[in-house]
């Protein structure tokens, strides 16, 4: 099962490191990363694969909430289907 992790906020050191550390510790594999500046905000989007992990999307979301708070970011973890169903026929 694939999920999308989106990180939006002010650019600063260590965002990728901290987010990927949580994912690594949870046995979640990062398949793709893109980052860009949208409306003056740092926006990072990761596609992750969750086949090897015992953690659920909700568990990962909870773990990332700590990073979200610490670094003043907005982080979402959502199953990939919500995006593909909205934007692809």
């Amino acid at each position: 099962m694939k999920a999308i992790v989106t990180v939006v906020g002010k650019d600063k050191k260590g965002i990728i490191a901290k987010v990927s550390d949580v994912l690594y510790r949870s046995d979640v594999n990062i398949v793709d990363i893109s980052q860009t500046i949208m409306q003056d905000m740092f926006t990072m989007i990761m596609m992750v694969e969750m086949d090897d992990t015992n953690a659920s999307v909700t568990d990962i979301d909870k773990k990332l909430a700590a990073v979200e708070k610490e670094m003043g970011l907005k982080i979402h973890v959502q199953r990939e289907e919500i995006f593909s169903s909205m934007h692809r026929i």
């Binding site: 398949v31 893109s34 949208m38 999307v57 199953r79 990939e80 289907e81 909205m86 934007h87």
Partner: protein, 455 residues
Amino acid sequence: MINPFEIMETINMIDRENLDIRTITMGISLKSCADPDIDRLCEKIYHKITNYARDLVKTGEDIEKQFGIPIINKRISVTPVASLVDALDTPTVDKCVRIAKTLDRAAKDVGVNFLGGYTALVHKGYTNGERVLIDSIPEALAQTDLVCSSVNIGSTRAGINMDAVKQMGEIIKKAALLTSKTQGFACAKLVIFCNAVEDNPFMAGAFLGDGEGECVINVGVSGPGVVKCALEKVKGKDFGIVADTVKKTAFKITRMGQLVAQEASRRLGVPFGIVDLSLAPTPAVGDSVAYILEEMGLEKCGTHGTTAALALLNDAVKKGGVMASSYVGGLSGAFIPVSEDAGMIAAAECGALTLEKLEAMTCVCSVGLDMIVIPGDTSASTVSAIIADEAAIGMINQKTTAVRVIPAPGAAVGDTVEFGGLLGTGPVMPVKPYSSEEFIARGGRIPAPINSLKN
């Protein structure tokens, strides 16, 4: 990978533009519960609902967390209760109220927001059970919290049952008086329909119709805020572009509904019924159907041009949504509940939006005169006449229309009534001071219109 801009568009719709799934509604047939003994009937009803719906709320919450899309309500609709009352040994109002309390207890125990189906379908005539059930509606609504009631009093095929119209005026007044402490809150849980649909997931009018199966999942989407934001980007453009923008947005909104419906159906092991493509507003600022109409260029919702704007909106929502879902049904159209829509409230308060204009608007959209507070001293016959007018629109135009008005005890024009939560705040709107008493007193049936004879 999906384009980052598309991903952020979805996230913005949810975070900033109030995109949500308004309701996952599980329809449960109670036909198998019919019993002449009231004790056994109540036991069977409680057992069936709590058994079928035990995982409904948790499943909804899991989907919400995993997909990151809010699902505001989890609800239940059941077989019209009047058919169970008909099967009772000697139906009485007290027995009906016991059934309502059982439904309320079951709804609370499984954790849903509302349960609909305290319903009678009397568009052509009454059975004995239906008559008793309708008599019991004020007590049943006053003594329960989550039970919603509806009565179908007309249809294109049958005409309008004016005896029922007359009675419903009196029932609404009685329900308001029994709940005068909450300014007639019981009336917010009671809808009078013409051409009621069998698979509506929205309250207060949801029930599981006769042609439906044992158990089904129906989903209602929302998203007026998303449509409004999309229209902000095409300011001043012609109506072709406006319609196209609404269509594209409705498509995206509906895809969310379809995804959630399929997922809920799979996880609960219950067949997927329909997605209802209604634009349902909430009192939250930015989640208003009135603001969409104003975004099209109207100074205030209710001014000249409002009906045309609503017609375009309603049609474009359907055209966009129908391609996005495998089964579309329910009411499917823009809702215009006054107290639940920040823009409608403002328009009614400043006098731009009147009952007459709302009536015109209901000719081109789903569903009817919805969540309108009228003065507490409005007579039962005037309430009946309002119902008759609205039913006539539905009957002739072969569409669903409904009336959910609250004659708030003690309230007069200029007052505001607070219902709280999704039901919002209603300014008291004036009704005509002239009597319809003799018209309503005639009784009988308005015959089915010529356009019903299609065979």
